[in-house]
């Protein structure tokens, strides 16, 4: 059947200008132009769409799901999050002791 020489393409769509493109699915097509046409037909119909990218699935390199432990500690490094820096009490205490250095109180 003619699907043999069709390649799959990953489809990314941008809802409106300024937004990020995100992945919405795949299409089968013989070449990128046809892939764009099918993608527009299939994915741009329902939602408001400003722009579409298609990419041959074969050109996508993905990280392994079994390696997703390399990502786990990133959110736990609190020293690089704004929330972990609180100064109000320290300033308050400083004023209460007449703004004197700690070694002259």
């Amino acid at each position: 059947n003619n699907l043999l020489h069709f390649q799959t393409y990953e489809v990314f769509h941008q809802k409106k200008r300024g937004a990020q493109h995100h992945h919405v699915g795949i299409v089968h097509a013989p070449n990128p132009d046809m892939a764009l046409l099918y993608a527009k037909e299939q994915y741009a119909r329902r939602e408001q769409t400003s722009n579409i990218w298609v990419v041959p699935s074969s050109s996508v390199s993905a990280s392994e799901y079994m390696d997703d432990d390399i990502f786990t500690t990133a959110p736990e490094k609190l020293y690089r999050n704004p929330g972990s820096y609180k100064v109000m009490d320290r300033i308050q205490a400083f004023k209460e002791r007449g703004m004197k250095p700690t070694d002259e109180v």
Binding site: R17, G18, R80, P82, Y85, R90, A93, M99, T102, E104
Partner: protein, 307 residues
């Protein structure tokens, strides 16, 4: 007719994307501005970077490493945004190293003590944030998307810097003297940070119409002083400008006019650290050349990135 459609899109508050038609002047101004912002991030990483190996205690050491890493990361994001406009990273790096393209003048001054790195982390980043928040509402899609991620990460820098200065100002006598001296050193360059007032700035008019530049230099300087001078005085620290005060009637800060001759002298290469900064970047590029040559595949076609 294209120009009208382009201007109408901007006036409607929509973003211009890389594939759109744009006036050559718009593309040129954007590349110049984003490129300078990118250079400022990677050159800005150098003075603070020298303190990573001397940061006192784990919390400061890890935080400063993360902050300087962010700055190199922001440089990468901004070079990428500029690349969507057609200038390759190689050309931008070469223009930086040869001095053809500028970076924020404030990094031409040395970070002499640990307190200098604290004042930079707080107030230089604060100035950068005033500028970035304004520009994040601009008209060019890739730059705004990059700024969104940058502003999110910069909020940590600001908090870390303020926390650092507060520890010094409210700590021992030695710490307090060190941060007061740093504050006195850095106030003049901070007043230069937003650049000369607009009447002397040749690009501002065009950049505003196209929402490439979102606020005037004076407006940003006023906003910066409004937000941070009270916080500095609140710590009992003094600033080296006797005329600095807020005029409650006009709501504007009054100050001694910065020495713009010195600003021009330093920005054109005659500051204390200009040569050193570019030498360090040149060395990094040259030491890395054997690495790039070894793993570069010649047939990789250079294509403008998308977004």
């Amino acid at each position: 007719e294209l120009l009208e459609q382009f201007q109408a899109r901007i006036d409607r508050g929509e973003k211009i994307e890389p594939q759109d038609w744009m006036p050559a002047m718009y593309r040129k101004q954007l590349i110049r501005m984003i490129e300078q912002h990118a250079h400022s991030e990677i050159i800005g990483a150098l003075p603070e970077g020298t303190w990573i190996t001397r940061a006192p205690g784990f919390r400061r050491k890890l935080a400063l490493m993360a902050k300087v890493q962010d700055e190199v990361g922001h440089g990468q994001l901004l070079y990428s945004a500029a690349e969507t406009l057609g200038k390759s990273r190689e050309d931008m790096m070469n223009d930086l190293i040869t001095g053809k393209s500028k970076y924020s003048n404030i990094f031409n001054y040395p970070a002499l003590t640990w307190a200098d790195s604290a004042v930079i982390a707080w107030l230089v980043d604060a100035g950068a944030i005033v500028n970035q928040l304004a520009n994040s509402k601009g008209s060019y899609g890739p730059y705004c998307r990059a700024l969104e991620r940058i502003c999110y990460e910069e909020s940590f820098h600001l908090k870390y810097g303020h926390d650092n200065v507060v520890h010094l100002a409210t700590g021992t006598r030695k710490q307090r003297e060190m941060v007061q001296a740093a504050m006195t050193r850095w106030w003049p360059p901070l007043m230069h940070f937003f650049g000369p007032s607009d009447k002397a700035s040749v690009h501002s008019e065009t950049l505003m119409k196209w929402k490439v530049k979102m606020a005037s230099n004076d407006a940003m300087r006023q906003q910066f002083m409004d937000m941070y001078v009270p916080k500095i005085w609140d710590l009992g620290l003094k600033l080296p400008d006797p005329k600095l005060k807020k005029n409650t009637a006009t709501g504007l800060w009054e100050y001694t006019e910065p020495d713009w001759e010195e600003f021009k002298r330093v920005i054109n290469g005659d500051g204390p650290c200009n040569a050193e900064r570019l030498a360090v970047r040149r060395m990094a590029e040259e030491n890395g050349r054997w690495v790039s040559r070894a793993i570069n595949n010649e047939k990789a076609e250079h294509v403008r990135p998308f977004a």
